[in-house]
Amino acid sequence: MASELLQLLVDGLTIGVVYVLLAAGLSVIFGVMNVINFAHGELFALGAYFALALIAPFGGSAFFVALFVAPLLVGIIGVGIERFTVRPLYGRNPLYHILLTFGLVLVINDLIYLIWEPGSVTLPLPEMLSGSIAVLDVTASVYNLFIIVLGALMAIAVWAMFEFTKYGLIVRAGAQDRQMVRNLGIDIDRYYSLVFGMGAALAAFAGIILGGYQTVNPTMGMSVIIPAFVIVVLGGLGSFRGAVVGGLFVGLVQTALRMYAPIFEGTGIFLLMIGVLLVRPHGLFGTDAAEEHTGDLLSGPRGGFLDSQTRTRLGLAMVGLLALVPLGAGTLYSTYAVTLVIEIIIWGLFALSLDFVMGYTGLVSLGHALFYGLGAYTVALGLSHVSQSAFVVIGLAIVLSAVIAWGIGFLSIRVSGVYFAMITLGFAELFYNMLGQLDITGGSDGLFGLSTYYGLAGIGVELDEIAVFLGPVAITGQSLFYYIALSALVASFLLTRRMLNSPFGAVLKSIRENEQRATFIGYETTVYKRRAFVVSGALAGLAGGLFTLNAGYATPSLVDWLNSGEVIVMVILGGMGTLYGPIIGSGIFFGLEELLTGFTDRWRLVLGTIFVLFVILLPGGLVSLPSRLAPALPGTPGRGPNSEPEPKPESNPDPEPATDVDDAHTRGDD
């Protein structure tokens, strides 16, 4: 028993130390620069691959050299990333950093696929680390002990550097008040680059030692980034101590769960994180002050470039055009076109649902795929257990998604900003892992082979059976589903637009503009945000339900966090806070994918690059392009000077507004 516990301790600490190194960089980068770096996992993977490349020509003994050189190289890349992509965004809402670094994830991950082989590779280790030591029935490999000791030394070194060096002092001072540090004549931006580079180097270091312990593969970054975030959030964003405690704790808990309660292996840490955040909304060691609201979310053009009549006409023309698509299938183009547009419509609806909360209340849900998957699984389970009527199961999907959205909203909307993004991500990952483990949801295979009919009480039609030919035009089941999906999208758009013009919508807009003011004219803003979240969840559930009705299956991969990320990409690409922008974003996303896959498998690389450029240069999305190209036309209504801020850093020399209204909440006194 004792030896078993010791074994657990060794294994747990090995993983724990890797987590500590990873989380420490993430947490320090956040603490100092307010940047949530999703690309951290990819830098971690990059470290392992660089080491692989460095070791390959020389054999295992080059490991020690690689352990030094690879982090250095990744550190330099980190400095470059900070300098050229992150820096232009200082002063904007920290959520833009999430979006930016998500784009970088796509880019770096595809670069890894492009340069190295896709499979798993073993990192050659030197002779002296490959043995094992047996003490009291416990066999610990030398390498495990090496990781634990080296990792602990690294962590101590980083801590000491922040605590005792002049460099550390300046960085800590900058985290408190960067303008003050600038006033002292210190070029704080240079230090930011170094902090980012150092965080990247730490991640690379962690990647190499984990690569030696397990294997090196292109998905290693994706698989550690979410636990690393859990640790950072658990410990408190920006807290080095929190990262260390959280990292070791999660390493041990994960190892223990794997040994004693494998059913909770995937879900355990997310339950832990959600539990901690509910009790301590800023993590174990976090403080209120760690969360700053700097800058607004930039939504698409308000008031609009075109007058409302033109826009209505344009909208009608678009819908009319879309309605024609199935008619030409099989003659003018292949039926695949219809499949593609169905996908665009369903994801357009999904993106629209996210825009309703993100674009109008500023709540960035990083786990929106949860509702998409929930809708999909409700339909799948409903078809097998409740009714085969498409209308009944879709109704169920909407209602259930709304109910769950209310519950999640109730638990998470009291935490704001970045913590909200993280807690929704936590819920989605929890659901994802549950789906893979429960029998009723078909485990990791999901549910498939579903059949349905369109009607009620047993009377209706199955779409597969339909094929009507009118000359060259074939009306098939697929084209009928196309119209159902299109109607759902148009109806949802009209419904949400109507809501936004109501008093309810006016309050949502006021929350986006200035939540504190909304509170002080008498609105219970959390209640309004929760209602918006319910509407959003219901619509996302509808989108997911439509997917399963059409595809006939539901798998856990629908809830993958990449899907949550991609739907955010669509919203930003098109233009947040416009409702129609995200639909256009969906079209561009799938259009690009379609176009690019014709040339390369690595289309995410191109897409990620485009997305990064968008976040930096055109945060208002594609729909803000016309009004940017034609500035200040006379008679263009509603173009305020602040609705289209320049993304250039020079225009925003002070990222922390001195008279931030939130001071009243966080500091409490004059």
Binding site: R302, G303, R498, M499, N501, S502, P503, F504, G505, A506, V507, K509, S510, R512, E513, N514, Q516, R517, A518, T519, F520, I521, G522, Y523, E524, T525, P637, G638, R639, G640, P641, N642, S643, T659, V661, A664, H665, G668, D669, D670
Partner: protein, 287 residues
């Protein structure tokens, strides 16, 4: 609605008569204590860790009073405001508004009870139009008059009564001609008018102003104060202000805070003559 109310808000003359609707002779000099103050704090304490920002404050604001809170930096003025408006939870003590205990109410619930808070000028809904800014405040007060379905689906421009009230406020603050403009596009002074109009639209009995003239020129300060006096004539006002001259001129009574405690309280003349205040605060200002 305050603007429809013809009731004089002057404080009552005697302790016996506490019915605010009964006409009474306004007094120009020192306010008398009444049994029915608008706002009262009892033994109010706020601690941040080891630091006591508000230390056993007993504050009583009479109806119709213009009260100013002054004190050196760090005296706890803003904390006191945050406690009264609900932006911060109290550590100890109680707050009564209009006779009811509001200590644990949320900020928005306090607004609905009649406590309005004005912020510094930029604190409006910048991306919305001037009309929308005011209408949001009107709508907040009137929300119980409409069904849930109406408030979810009926377009705002079809609420005739709300829109009438909105236009009335816009007229009153003199911004009717720019009602369709985005708030961000307003000139400096107009933005302040809007800010005050938004507060007014929530129909407050008590309005708290935190340094409404901070960073303004003498001229701008004067304009702002004139506007306050013109538009908020029926309201009870609580003001934090650094400009001592202004405070002396405007206030009915002044409360001086120092180190989280009330150092002195009285009419401007009493405060000016108070030796403690001279030592702790005023002396330091006339360097």
């Amino acid at each position: 609605m305050a603007l429809e109310s013809s009731e004089p808000s002057e404080p009552n003359e005697s302790n016996e008569s506490t019915d605010p609707t009964e006409p009474s002779d306004p007094i120009e000099t020192t306010q008398q204590r009444t049994d029915n103050p608008l706002l009262q704090t009892e033994n109010l304490v706020k601690r941040f860790g080891q630091f006591t920002a508000t230390d056993r404050i007993d504050l009583t604001i009479e109806r119709g009073e213009f009260r100013s809170v002054i004190g050196p930096n760090g005296a706890g003025k803003t904390t006191l405001f945050n406690l009264i408006t609900g932006a911060l939870p109290v550590t100890e003590g109680a707050i009564y508004f209009d006779g009811a205990d509001i200590t644990t109410l949320s900020p928005s619930a306090r607004v609905r009870r009649g406590i309005g808070r004005s912020f510094q000028i930029s604190n409006v809904f910048g991306g919305l139009t001037v009309r929308e800014n005011v209408r949001l405040a009107i709508q907040s007060v009137a929300r119980d008059e409409y069904t849930a379905v109406e408030s979810l689906f009926k377009p705002t421009d079809r609420y005739d009564e709300l829109n009438d009230r909105t236009e009335a406020i816009l007229d009153r603050i003199g911004l009717a001609h720019v009602a369709a403009e985005q708030a961000n596009a307003l000139a400096y002074g107009d933005k302040r008018r809007l800010e005050i109009g938004v507060v007014l639209a929530t129909d407050p009995e008590l309005v708290l102003f935190d340094e409404p003239t901070a960073g303004m020129s003498v001229e701008e300060t004067r304009e702002t104060i004139d506007l306050l006096e013109a538009v908020l004539v029926d309201q009870t006002l609580l003001l934090i202000e650094h400009d001592i001259e202004l405070v002396m001129e405007l206030s009915d009574r002044i409360t001086v805070l120092n180190g989280g405690q009330i150092l002195a309280e009285g009419t401007p003349a009493e405060i000016a003559a108070n030796q403690d205040v001279q030592n702790a605060y005023l002396g330091g200002m006339t360097e």
